[in-house]
């Protein structure tokens, strides 16, 4: 069985107080022909060992770019990080040399992607790809690495792993492929796993299985999990905290249950209201009006004001700060207390 306990040696890194991962005032811009697209505008959050943080947002809200910035796999250019820091156990990843970062990617911070079919190399058997992790990072020989690959495939509950180890990605079902992707990502017992929409390409029953697997692995290993998703349903059972992103910034951040029970930002409120409910049968579904703003031309004031039903004059001129409304609840809204009260 895998001994996935790395949580014990957190202190040995010598930064006892530093959170496992800390994103501090991060900005990411894409310099395009049409101008500068501000994909991320001052995102800050932290993650502790054993914790699950859900980053929630619609397409283009900057959640995947955040993940790529943490991993250091943004294509630069066109991407530029003008400000901010990403600290892993106290060390800033953004100022590290490419070589140092490569040692972090995989063994320390790892990532799984949305579509496992395209995230697995089509010309290599899956076992080879899992084994590559051990060969590259640990210098294992082929046979040992292969044995490790089989062990990991069993760990992620792939039936007949010994026979399947030589199959190619396209010979697996979607759920099985995602399991293999997970096996690759957890191969070296990372302390942080970033899951970028891990279940979006899967059907609902398989989604639940994959989430259960991720949760199980997390409990066993004590790793920190960042779950990037646009699906409120996926998040509810799994996450400890949620950060809701809109237009490249966090608009609300809170523990899961309070946030679901009583959102403190109109955007979160709108998202929750647009979940179909059984008792709503026959009635029209709620939808947030309008579209997210273009990253090239942000509105003045609050970035959500053109779509917000509560927008006042102040919202069109003054950009609200992310502030703690009640302990543990952060919102980027002038009227957060009102929203929370409703």
């Amino acid at each position: 069985m895998t001994s996935l306990d790395k949580s014990t040696d957190v202190a040995t890194l010598g930064h006892g107080d530093a959170p496992l991962l800390e994103v501090d005032d991060l900005y990411v811009e894409f310099h395009t022909r049409d101008g500068i697209a501000k994909a991320i505008n001052g995102v800050s959050f932290h993650l502790e060992a054993g914790e699950t943080l859900a980053v929630l947002g619609e397409s283009g809200s900057g959640k995947s770019v955040t993940a790529q910035a943490i991993m250091g796999i943004l294509d630069m250019p066109p991407a530029v990080v003008p400000r901010g820091a990403v600290r892993y156990a106290g060390r800033d990843l953004l100022t590290m040399s490419p070589k140092e970062r490569r040692k972090i990617r995989g063994p320390e911070i790892s990532m799984i992607f949305q579509d496992a079919l395209s995230a697995l190399n089509p010309v290599f058997p899956v076992g080879w790809q899992i084994a590559e992790m051990f060969r590259v990072h640990k210098g294992m020989n082929r046979r040992d690495a292969q044995a490790e690959a089989i062990r990991l495939m069993e760990r992620v509950q792939i039936p007949a792993a010994k026979d399947r180890v030589r199959s190619y990605p396209h010979q697996f079902s979607g759920g099985m492929r995602q399991r293999i992707m997970i096996a690759m990502a957890i191969a070296l017992n990372p302390r942080i796993l970033i899951a970028d929409e891990p279940t979006t390409a899967l059907d609902v029953t398989v989604q639940a299985q994959i989430m259960a697997l991720l949760q199980e692995i997390q409990e066993e290993s004590g790793m920190g999990l960042i779950l990037i998703t646009h699906d409120l349903g996926v998040v509810a059972d799994v996450a400890d905290r949620i950060a809701v992103m809109y237009a490249g910034r966090i608009v609300e951040s809170a523990d899961v249950l309070p946030l679901y029970a009583d959102p403190a930002h109109p955007y979160t409120e709108g998202l929750l209201a647009s979940i179909p409910q059984l008792e709503q049968k026959g009635k029209e579904l709620y939808a947030i009006k309008g579209l997210p703003p273009s990253l090239l031309r942000m509105p003045d004031g609050c970035k959500f004001n053109p779509r917000c039903s509560r927008a006042q004059d102040i919202c069109r001129t003054d950009d609200p700060e992310l502030r703690e409304v009640v302990p543990g609840r952060w919102s980027r809204c002038h009227f957060a207390e009102e929203v929370l009260g409703d």
Partner: protein, 325 residues
């Protein structure tokens, strides 16, 4: 006759597709042989496992093997020397004794066809290998690095691409080769000019193939899981991008053999006393009414060799594509 006017031999996708319809000879489902936890095979080994089961592979491989044998060891096929002439019997028709008949000089045509293989195969193999190496390597670098490296390499390729193959080769060979150069020197100068003028087509193919592969999630994933740039380029991008290059190079091999024949036909490639198919076609074409067999037999050998390589290229492409399994 072979089309000599091709400047970009077989580089278009259509040319690669228009070959023999080998794709239809797909094999059965994947068999999970045994439950033993043997190490995963490399892609090359997997492709070989696929190839072994295809009759078309064995047919083309046999044809190529026979030609290779002719090139290396011509006396295995015939007792007569390539310069044993019986002038009285010139233009003799094919007979039981002399299967292909005799040519203008009274040489035994069958023997000459056998001896002609060496020059053609050598030129074809060397040129195809070198263009694939040079063009493939530069294409990988240009596609992967992008930016200024890509721009410079692409412009350089375009400069060479703009020179018509045959015209360039004629000028080069006229200026740099002497009629009394030895066999290897002439072959090498032909190979050199074909590589100089031929690498851009492989370069372009490789570059576009790399550009297609590069944005894939698995390249991102390889980065996210800690792969070094060198490893990503050679382990993750190259195997996914090399398919078209292998196919086109194998097809080009045939085209280069034809180009050598064309140059010899024009009298600036291999010269007497070296025997080559192009030269024989040249001689034979002058007597096409009188003695058509002097044209048809060397042309047939040339076609068979070219076809053999094109067929091999096609089966290799299928074998390297896991989705066709």
């Amino acid at each position: 006759m072979t089309d000599f006017s091709h400047h970009e031999p077989g580089a278009s996708g259509a040319a690669a597709e228009s070959g023999v319809p080998l794709g239809s000879l797909s094999t059965g489902p994947v068999e999970p042989d045994g439950g033993a936890a043997a190490p995963a095979r490399s892609p090359g080994a997997e492709a070989w496992r696929e190839l072994r089961r295809k009759p078309m592979f064995w047919i083309s491989a046999t044809v190529i093997f026979v030609f290779l044998l002719m090139a290396v060891w011509p006396s295995l096929f015939t007792d007569i020397g390539p310069r044993d002439a019986v002038l009285a019997d010139r233009w003799a028709k094919p007979s039981a004794e002399h299967w292909f008949g005799r040519d203008l000089q009274g040489y035994d045509l069958y023997t000459r066809c056998i001896y002609g293989a060496r020059a053609s195969i050598l030129v074809g193999l060397l040129t195809a290998t070198l263009t694939a190496l040079v063009g493939g390597f530069l294409g990988l670098i240009a596609g992967y690095m992008g930016g200024i490296t890509d721009t410079l390499l692409s412009r350089l390729a375009e400069v060479f691409f703009a020179i018509p193959l045959l015209l360039g080769a004629i000028i080069f060979l006229f200026s740099f080769s002497q009629p009394n150069d030895g066999f290897f020197k002439t072959v090498m100068s032909i190979v050199l000019i074909l590589v100089i003028l031929g690498w851009p087509s492989v370069f372009r193919l490789m570059r576009s193939s790399v550009l297609q592969v590069k944005p894939n999630d698995y390249v991102q994933a390889a980065r996210a899981l800690g792969g070094s740039p060198l490893r990503i380029a050679f382990r993750h991008i190259l195997p996914n991008a090399i398919g078209p290059v292998i196919v086109v190079s194998t097809i080009n091999l045939g085209v280069y053999i034809a180009s050598e024949a064309a140059l010899s036909f024009l009298g600036i490639g291999l010269q007497d006393p070296t025997v080559s198919w192009g030269q024989m076609i040249d001689e034979g074409s002058e007597q096409i009414r009188n003695a058509p067999h002097t044209l048809l037999f060397p042309a047939g050998f040339l076609s068979a060799a070219v076809l053999g390589f094109i067929m091999l290229g096609d089966t290799i492409r299928d074998a390297f594509d896991p989705k066709s399994r």
